[in-house]
Each structure stands twice: as structure tokens, then as C-alpha cells.
Symmetry: C2
Subunit: 319 residues, 2 copies
Amino acid sequence: MLGEFDIIARYFATPDQSLPISGVTLGPGDDCALLSPAAGTELAMSVDTSVADVHFPGDAPPEAIGHRALAVALSDLAAMGARPRGCLMALTLPHAEPAWLERFAQGFRDLGRYTSTPLVGGDVTRGTLSIAVTVIGDVPVGQALRRSGAMPGERLAVTGALGGSHGGLRMWQAGGHDLEDPLLAAYLRPAPQLEAGCALRGLASAALDISDGLLADLGHLCHASGVGASLDPACIPLAPTLEMTLGSEGALHAALNGGDDYQLLVSVPETAWEDALRRCADCGVTLTEIGRVLAEPGIRGIPETLKGAGWQHFTGDGQ
Amino acid sequence: MLGEFDIIARYFATPDQSLPISGVTLGPGDDCALLSPAAGTELAMSVDTSVADVHFPGDAPPEAIGHRALAVALSDLAAMGARPRGCLMALTLPHAEPAWLERFAQGFRDLGRYTSTPLVGGDVTRGTLSIAVTVIGDVPVGQALRRSGAMPGERLAVTGALGGSHGGLRMWQAGGHDLEDPLLAAYLRPAPQLEAGCALRGLASAALDISDGLLADLGHLCHASGVGASLDPACIPLAPTLEMTLGSEGALHAALNGGDDYQLLVSVPETAWEDALRRCADCGVTLTEIGRVLAEPGIRGIPETLKGAGWQHFTGDGQ
């Protein structure tokens, strides 16, 4: 049987994660990792826990579980316009099965390599499968995209398309297991919008990632900014094949309330809008206007029948 | 019932953790926290997960669980000679019980305040009780205490006393619940040796914290440094009342193999020894020589009967 140190050494301290990596002075294996912050930057950091059968199906492909655990954490860096510098993983496992671990680590490592996010530290314990990933990024001083800067009159926009993850969840529950399907891919292999986040620095006045559902997260942005919003449901970009799968009303409901899309929701002043569109296009990301920031609190334009409760772990209303 | 955001707002984003805190540009509540690294420093970071009934008794006092979860993570900063700058907590809870949470948060916050470690971010999910704490500290560039610098001929020394945590575990299992007892306190409310870690910068050639047991951790230090060691069992400082509780042989076995003491094990060159003693004394910490670094691999001086397996989560040999 594998010991804790064997697991870390074998699956997570692989050569392609080893030094030299820009900014990482000391990788896994000591009491702490050491990072050298770049001059003129601030550090952005966040932690996200993914629990089996709460955030992802415990029987999902291990590669997807590894990918997803890192992706949802990286999405918080994207939402601040930060560039990833490293991550730490606290992995809790019911048992150490080499075949599963190998595939899990592969999914985690592949996304880490693709996004330049070396694993610099970790901890492995025994228990119900869950993965807490802490990400560390940097951002030029004063340029982080916060939730609190939206001003009345600005455009509200989202990257990519929404509702796909909820559609994928439904599909998985119905027995669909083809990860090439765009909805299942959105659910199990979400792509953090890191490039778009960096591209929108200096342009967006406020930003967050859509993890709890568009309406819930727009509520967070409005609350932090002390504003309200109006949305145009007809403008909300729906994930490909979503209407086909859930019907028109179901698709819109998923786009408004389904969590886990990991797209960015931003507020953009009129003067920066064309630049924002162009910079997103330059990194291959669509940016779609979905409404406007209002001075009065509350969210307008959405019929009550289309409003869900958003993701709330301890109230039982979430997915 | 409390929602995820309510829990974070009510218990962990309290006024005494609010800004301004040196180096924290943005605390909890946005997608990421923002920290400003101090000039001339490197960042040290580590994550430690504490799982109920694996690392601590699930029915321990909630204050102790909160304290302990942060303490074991801070101990890794101590082992690098780093000063805490902040922490993130991924809390997994079976249910959100306000009375329990209030007491848990109190224990966590009290240690955070005492050690100047503001909680800058967190995540709350539903599941088996477990707490993954990521700590971030800083250390002057090039001065971090690594595991890999021990040289033959140097003195091996430990801070404080050993075996207390194992004694406390035994006491808890036997029904003892008085947290004023020094052994139970060592087990459930360990003190990270942050001041001693900083004091030993520039003096110790290698350091780590004793979490897996002295012999296991000495093995890690020797492996990283490419050296061996001889220990003098008669010199190993035993926790107060440990011999009374476990007998002489049991106490020594606990000191050598019992994990979770969170004292520092260091290697100190002859020329730095007097300074190391004095600096530790200045911060009220005893430093005790327990052996010497040898050029040949292996650990000498310990009879086979006193050797345990150290903490290994997935091999079943640990505590």
C-alpha cells in the first residue's frame, strides 16, 4: 500500500513540475514552498474545495476530477485578472488506489502545465474524497479586478456561454458519460477564463466568476458595488446544444441559475467597451453584453418564474 | 439554517480580522484576497488538513479543533523561519450548527490574533468535518530554514519537550478531558514555534517541525541533507508528566515516535550553538541537544525496541 509521502512523490512532484519555474524558489518536499514575488505585483490567493457527490460525481473520470478541482480554483484568479504562480492541494482520499491516483494526477497536472500553475505543496489525508486547492497568482499593484467597482450606466457582460454546466449535470444524472459532449465538458472540465481576466484589467470596473449562478453572482457584484442591474434575458448567451437538451425555458433557467459555469461577469464603462471586446476576441473569447448597471438596488428584467435560489450549501436550495 | 456566505460573514470575517492589517490589501469577500509582499522577502506557503477522528477527536472542544487546525499549519511556517502573513481555510462541515461554529471560530481567531495571522479567504462546503488551512508567511530572501542543509558534525537539537501529544491522545482515549492538563493541551492545543523559528534563522543549517514523530522527521531531515545521525536517548526532553503517565519506556517511545508535537528539530553548527541557545532563551524556548549529524546514512543510538513506524496515513502504521 502507498504511504502519504509516496503518493506526493509519485504523483504530484513530477519532473515537469520541478524547478526551475519562474518565481518558484523551492517546490514540494520541504515544510513550505518558497515563492519569489515579482516586483510591482500584489499576490492574489483563494481556496476552493471540491467534495465528491457535492461538487462533482464521485464516479466521474479521475482525470476530470483532477482537472475540475484545479480549474474552479483558478477561476478565482481569472476573476481578479491575476496570473497563476502556483497552487497547493489538500487531497483527502478514502484509500490510495494507484490507478485512480495516476489518472487524477494526470488531469490536475495537465491543466497545471497548460495554465503555468505548478503544484508547490500539498497534503494527503484519509477520509471522504475531497480536494481543497489553494491558488496563488500575481497582478500588477492596484490593477486587480474587484467586485466592488461597478458604476451605474456601465455595461454588464459575460465571457463565453452560460448554463452548460447545469445541462451537463442533468445529462450525467441521466446516464450520459461522453466527455466530448459540450455540456458534459462544461460540467466536468470547465475552462478557467485566465486570459480574458488578464485582458480585462484596466478596462472592467468590476468582475467575478460565475460559480453560484448568474443571478446569484450578479447579486454579489451589485451588493459589493452598491448598485442594481437590469438584465435582458434575450441577450444571455446559452451554451451550445443547451436549448436542444433542456428546452428554451429550461435553458434560460439553467443559464440564469445553474452554477459552475466559471465564466466571468464584468461591468465595463462605455469608453472601454470596444477595447474590451477586441482584447477578449484577441484571446479567442466572446464577450456578450447582457444588461446594464443601475443606481437602484435589485435586479430587473427577469420574470420571477426564471429565478432560482443559487448555490447555497447549507440551505439545501442549490444543485 | 445558515448559508455558506452567512457562515463566512458571521464567523470568519470578524472586525478584529478586518483591514488595515499590514500587508493585506484585500481581505475575505472577493474572489481572491490580495497581499502585498514586503520588499526583500520570499513567500513561504504550506497547507495542512485536519480530519475529524483521524487527526483530532471529532468530539473535542470546538475551540481546540479551531486552534489546532491553524496551529499545525503555522508550524510549517515556524519550521522555515517564516513570519505569518495570512491564512485561508477550506472548512468542510456535516451541518452548520451556530453554537459549534461560534466556538470553533473563536479558537481559530484567537490563535490567529495571537500569531498575527489574519484569515484572508475561505471556503465552506458540506461533508465530513475537515479543515484544510493554507498559511502564507514571509522570510528574508535566502534565509528560509530548509531541511537540506545539515552537515556532519553539527549538533541536533529540539525545541521544547516531546511526546506530550501522544500522551494526550492516550489520555483522551482513556476518557480524560481536562484541557488544563499539559499532555491534553499538547495534543489538542499545540503551540507553533514561530518565534523560535525566526530566532534560529541564520544559525540553524536545517530545520523541520516534528509532526510525524522525532525518528520519522529526523529521517526526513537526514534524507534531504544526505547525512545520518546519532541520537542520545537519555538527552531527549520528555514532556512534563509524560513518564508518570506512560512509564519510562513508554514515555521515551512516545517522544521518539509519537507525532504531532510540533516542536522544531534543527541542526546547528558548533560555531552557532551558543547564539542559538541564547536566542531561543530570549523567546522563552528551551533548545536541547539530542545528538549529532553523521556523514553515514542511518540513525544510530536508538534500540530497535524503541523504534515505531511514524505517521503514515495510508499504511495503517501511524497513530
